[in-house]
Subunit: 420 residues, 2 copies
């Protein structure tokens, strides 16, 4: 009897993490001689620790196929990081207890930086704790900050959402600017890196097009230069459209979002750098503004996913299973870029040891000299990632996203486990 597999989703979900799940499960189903059942962790790794496993074999082929076009994490995700083996051996003992009870020999962990660190730790179980397991990471993160891989599944779709949205809003403001709104500010994700904000710049084909200003977390906010840039856009193009990363900080290192809004009690208000920036413009330049905060809408927007992102997410899930079947442990499939135009890529692989705890920042040379835009090199890198559309099926005007049955695997252990 072949060993069963464990698959879990981790951290913030994306528009395409389920496409990776689809790749994992469909590929495993094609190899019943090598892999038994695929058990998913209910709410990620927590499902493993609490022996709360989902039997994906209870789902129809059609429902599994529908994961490819369904955003979010179909089995639930979690924000829970395993500690080091030395710090918390009890967690690893428990994992082994559960894996043993359910005859699990393969471990697929779908997540970002922290999660690949966990994958790496689990991949050491065989060597360090004598439990034989093949562990393969599946990359995912809208932050696009995993090393080695050309990009991270989830990012391309957010990038497309942001570029499309700011393009549309810029068209809107341009029509209104004569007598009404002159400035539009759109806040996007990216607490540490400006990848997502940078993607907004793809919407501008010429200088007069919006967005005219990008505010990156990598660049200290300079009020004077910023206001001059906004004024220039309004005076020369009639309006100014701005993409601001949630992670923008001032010279004191404080998040701009925290410097502005207070609630009725005077407490600093978390979230919302867009209103702070918009308010500043109103106060100093007097322009009428509108602002939007995309928040989860941007990472859940499967309706406008990038086809290259969906294809890669699926391919990486598929490759993870193929690597595991080939006996590779402690690896993560990656995207390798072969050419920009036309965009060509293939699947490679990296050692988890080289992925864990390494953060890929946006290169300095991707930000334009004035700090408010992207360079040609950045555009060349980003452009292929938003290529192609991959629309979900619709019924009654709404995308048909699947909700799985998520039938639990009967518990085999008498023990309970309390999360630390």
């Amino acid at each position: 009897m072949p060993k069963n597999a464990f698959y879990a989703q981790s951290g913030g979900v994306t528009a395409v993490i389920n496409a990776s799940a689809c790749g994992v499960i469909e590929t495993a189903r094609q190899h019943p001689d090598k892999i038994g059942k695929v058990y998913a962790g209910r709410n990620g790794i927590i499902g493993a620790l609490t022996e709360d496993l989902i039997d994906t074999s209870q789902e129809s082929d059609a429902d599994i196929a529908a994961l490819r076009h369904t955003p979010s994490g179909a089995f639930g995700s979690c924000r829970f990081k395993l500690k080091g083996l030395e710090e918390s051996k009890v967690e690893y003992d428990r994992l082994i207890e559960v894996f043993k009870a359910h005859d699990i020999g393969f471990f697929f962990y779908n997540g970002g930086g922290d999660s690949q660190d966990t994958s790496y730790k689990v991949s050491q179980l065989a060597e360090k704790m004598g439990y034989p397991i093949t562990c393969v990471g599946v990359p995912k993160t809208v932050d696009n900050d995993l090393p080695i891989t050309d990009n991270c599944p989830g990012f391309g779709s957010v990038a497309k959402y942001v570029a499309v949205s700011i393009k549309e809003a810029s068209f809107d403001v341009a029509s209104m600017a004569k007598t009404s709104t002159k400035v539009f500010v759109m806040e996007v994700m990216g607490r540490h890196a400006g990848w997502i904000a940078a993607a907004g710049a793809l919407a501008a084909e010429k200088e007069s097009d919006g967005p005219h200003v990008i505010l990156f977390p990598e660049i200290v906010f300079n009020e004077e230069k910023f206001l001059a840039k906004v004024k220039y856009a309004v005076e020369n193009y009639g309006f100014c459209s701005i993409v601001v990363s949630e992670g923008v900080r001032n010279a004191d290192g404080k998040f701009l979002a925290e410097t502005g809004l207070r609630d009725a009690f005077g407490h600093a208000q978390l979230g919302g750098v867009a209103p702070v920036v918009a308010n500043l413009i109103k106060e100093k330049l007097g322009y009428k503004y509108h602002w939007a905060v995309a928040d989860y809408l941007q990472r859940a927007a499967r309706h406008i996913s990038s086809k290259s992102d969906v294809d890669q997410a699926y391919a990486l899930g598929k490759a993870a299973v193929e690597l595991a079947i080939a006996g590779k442990n402690a690896v993560m499939p990656t995207v390798v870029r072969l050419s920009n135009n036309p965009y060509k890529w293939e699947i490679g692989s990296a050692n988890l040891a080289d992925v864990a705890n390494v953060e890929k920042m946006m290169p300095k040379e991707y930000i334009s000299e004035d700090g408010f835009g992207i360079t040609a090199a950045c555009r060349e890198y980003l452009q292929p990632l938003i290529l192609g559309e991959d629309y979900p099926p619709y019924q009654n005007g709404l995308p048909q996203y699947v909700q799985l049955k998520n039938v639990g695997v009967p518990k085999k252990l008498q023990t309970t486990y309390t999360l630390k």
Copy 2:
């Protein structure tokens, strides 16, 4: 020689107002014996007052056709309301001066309630000031508050955007809720009427689906009942997803948006009811939240427009020209609903006298008894309006929206005009 036509866009633009412009211009081009050139007002009626006209005959057929899939107002819009004939005869004298100079015999005004009031005033020019002109209004408004017509172009696409977005975000939060975000709040437009917020409810097919709570401007905000509803959703479905209309007010009649956030100087902060609501939940129930403010993104989102909305916007522009050619003055084409399922409709027409200054509110029986949802009747009304997809063409991963040349018509008057 046939008379020329004047066409202008007015008020807040939408994802499909250009589809109506496309209908007007393409139809006029098919009747060169009846209508000369179509001149568009640059920035709406301001273009007429300042003799700033755009010669649409300079645009290629392909570019005019591309208007059908381009959001925003291609000729610029404005927020400028003509006063009454008695109050401000000088404005009407000026319109007649410009119309006469450019041989304009047809007036098409594309807008919402205020604009149809203007259309009505202009339609009286023949009778009251002896200038022969045929005036036809073209309906448009995301607020969906024009009377007689089944719905207003622009609304169906916002409705679809809101329903799709809250569906996607609800899926996202459902996956995160175990260890992280439990509540998601999405703010949508609608200062006076809850049509747009109501559309969010289309995303829920069963009780456990998000959104679980809709906050309407029609219903006085009741903190206690609201918090109980949120708590119920989190405890029973694991998460709570909320759509809140920007126009929600408390028992004192104050906008909730104005009761909460203050800037660093303690001034009340305009906009942003979502953070107020989210903050309240955090404070009273302790749930982790995320919030989004869609703002212009919702009305500009041509990438996810409803096909019935696009079709109707075009058909109404076409019908406006056909009505004008048939010699009808002081009318507005309307959508007449023939059946719900399958959705069938045809074009009718209304007298501008019956449209001007009449606001269609959301019927009380469209809001569920507890005030936090929609009724079956409301769903039956809204459902057809989001039907069908009408994707724009894409290139390099981005929708290809047209920017017209917008060549000005040489001025014929020596006079200048200062806007009042």
